[in-house]
Symmetry: C2
Subunit: 184 residues, 2 copies
DNA sequence: ACCTGAACACCGTTCAAGT
DNA sequence: ACCTGAACACCGTTCAAGT
């Protein structure tokens, strides 16, 4: 009953989650799906496109959940700038968790984010949160980029260590300290 | 007259500089040196070790030059905290330049830095500069890690874009804004 | 001590030909 | 429309055997 693009992406997602980027080869993926390697190229243009789709899937939960907050209309009377700043802190923490949860997630998301820095989540959501917190749009966007790049640098380091069974006990606290410094 | 380790590293360095990480294979390196691939394994344990040596070579200039400043004895009477803070700004900018100058430099240095975050340059030099600027040792080390991880995140993004011929005009300014935010 | 030859177990991608 | 078969041009690493 004919392979489709979704099955290809799902199988790739499973390999990435379970075995990491080093094991996510087009040949391995084809084997897992019971087809010849060439068959995959009917459903995806190439490996790069496949990785871009996986990156989108990793950050998708950020857009679907809370903190997408009031963009239209004025902020509710009770919403102070401090609360919106907490929104940014929460948002970047959720981004980190999402990327950290997938093996080699940072490597995959880093490429996607480099291609579209201001369009890809969590950048637009962060920029909105920081604007709500009282920043002008331009510095808000710059601060959002700083947060995302710092986070990707941190998670890349952590996942590299995890892949080598080195300790990572201090890294969550270091991440939080970095976020505080950037938003201070 | 027998290959030695230095020739292997020099040739690898040349390939990395000129063609990037994608072209730095053990087989290609062997071809360039006029030997069989297996011969390389007499001089280096594996590709990972070779990349670690290249990472060291990229950051070596940082240790050999200025801003290594007075560690022993009290600061000169005229040296205010503000000056030492400028030292940190200068140091992280020089780190960025060194990594940015080598194709895919951020990928190579990121791994080395993940393995030894506090030992590898520029972390110890940065920590020293920030301590001179009046910070306590613990927060100084955390701030140094934040700076280095943000910088590696930024340069990774920029080099990804460069490898795809996408514009990078805004990225130097975004880097500087990030550094200011972190040190503010 | 240092290197070759040859193998092992892989890659991503293309494309004529089949159904 | 969708897939196979087969090829092209590669990988990193090991190791007996040669000099």
């Amino acid at each position: 009953m004919a392979l489709d693009r979704e099955q290809v992406v799902d199988a790739a997602w499973h390999i990435l989650q379970t075995y990491g980027l080093g094991d996510l080869s087009m040949r391995r993926l084809a084997r897992e799906l019971g087809v010849q390697p060439g068959a995959l190229y009917w459903h995806v243009a190439n490996k790069q496109e496949l990785l871009a789709v996986l990156a989108q899937r990793m950050v998708a939960p950020l857009s679907t959940s809370s903190t997408g907050a009031p963009t239209t209309g004025a902020s509710p009377a009770g919403t102070s700038p401090a609360v919106a700043d907490d929104d940014a802190t929460l948002l970047i923490a959720r981004f980190r968790s999402a990327v950290l949860a997938v093996r080699d997630g940072a490597d995959v998301v880093s490429v996607a984010h480099a291609l579209d820095p201001s369009g890809m989540q969590p950048t637009p959501l962060l920029t909105a949160a920081l604007t709500r917190a009282g920043m002008d749009p331009a510095p808000a966007e710059t601060a959002a980029l700083t947060l995302v790049r710092f986070t990707l640098g941190s998670v890349t380091a952590q996942q590299t260590r995890e892949s080598m069974d080195l300790p990572t006990a201090t890294m969550a606290a270091e991440f939080e300290a970095g976020v505080r410094a950037i938003l201070a």
